[in-house]
Symmetry: C2
Subunit: 219 residues, 2 copies
């Protein structure tokens, strides 16, 4: 059960899962923990501790069977149906994500992500009725009825920072459980909605801080 | 000195810095730690501990002076000149980032990020010679000479996953210190280069894991 897993491990689950999905797609059957550690840049002790929360997955000296690990993830997630997600704000970033999530490579995966992106929304009338990849675009005015009709529970927010809070506020009370906030500003919503923020400028700055820290440690 | 600051704090520095830049732009002079805590979703004790690494920044009951905190960041970073950065892979995501980093809002900031994005590179001949925002686009063949001439030290990688490793490998030995990897796959480079990876699908999945964990904890 995920409720018993510490946050630090939760943060790494998606990385593990992606790595094993890729190994499976490459036809790899088994991987040693040392090799896995080098591949994803996390030390073996941490990997072993994290994996202990997923069940009995490996034996000393034998490594991890790729399919066994992926099935463990499926079991972990199996009480949950696939969740529907919409993207709001079809600028360049929104368009990039819509394309990415409807790409063949992504859709053909045997072990798919538990969140399905199904549509995009914008206020730009000229976009309405178009598709990006195979995903249809709608007007923001139709968001509320769409969310109710399709039981949407996740939102990817790629709107400009100036409107992010008002769009986020309009999502209250509609049954949304999670927002992936890519709007480059903090949004405040009620506790029912979990917000996970990614700001690419902050990520660039964080990289800078790590490099700077490493350089200072040398002197 | 950043070398004395723990990694967990380093991870939060960019978030603090962005928050105070925004407060300054809004004309806010001072903020209470409780208000700050609510704004960015980090508990007050953690904020106080993190800020203790930046110097004497606040007094009990008085809060933090916005300009004082921003100057502390500038001091922390002042031994370092602004670093030049290029983006490789001008698809939708690359284009979104080039636009974002050359936007007026971004350029007019008094307290600017220490990394400057100055150009984009792609293998698509039809893009060469064009600009995105004010940033020029060049052919990937000219990357090496450009990096040497402009003393580029950071790279944002927005190429497709299939070519990410070969592009990353071609960056070895050119003086690159950091790569922000947005190519949705792990890249391996020598230890001289720090890689910070952001995979937006993994971020969506991490959000899902957090929501799922929260729901299970309720039952």
């Amino acid at each position: 059960m995920l409720s018993n897993i510490p946050n630090a491990t939760i943060k790494r689950l998606a990385l593990y899962r992606r790595c094993f999905v890729e190994l499976d797609e490459m036809g790899v059957k088994r991987i040693q923990s040392g090799e896995l550690s080098q591949k994803i840049g996390i030390d073996s002790a941490t990997i072993r501790r994290d994996f202990s929360y997923l069940g009995e997955l490996g034996r000393q000296g034998y490594g991890y069977e790729v399919r066994v690990v992926l099935e463990a993830f499926n079991n972990l997630l199996k009480t949950e149906d696939a969740q529907s997600c919409v993207l709001i704000g079809v600028g360049n970033l929104g368009r990039a994500l819509l394309k990415y999530f409807s790409s063949d490579k992504f859709k053909k995966r045997v072990f798919r992500t538990p969140v399905n992106l199904i549509a995009g929304f914008d206020t730009d009338e000229s976009l309405v009725g178009q598709c990006v990849g195979e995903l249809p675009l709608y007007h923001l005015n139709d968001l509320k009825s769409y969310i109710e009709e399709h039981r949407v529970t996740y939102v990817i927010l790629t709107v400009p920072p100036t409107v992010a809070q008002s769009v986020a506020t309009s999502l209250e009370g509609l049954g949304i459980k999670g927002i992936l906030n890519l709007s480059s500003t903090v949004i405040n919503v009620s506790e029912d909605i979990t917000v996970h923020e990614v700001d690419l400028n902050m990520e660039l700055e964080t990289l800078f801080f790590y490099v700077f820290q490493k350089e200072q440690a040398k002197h």
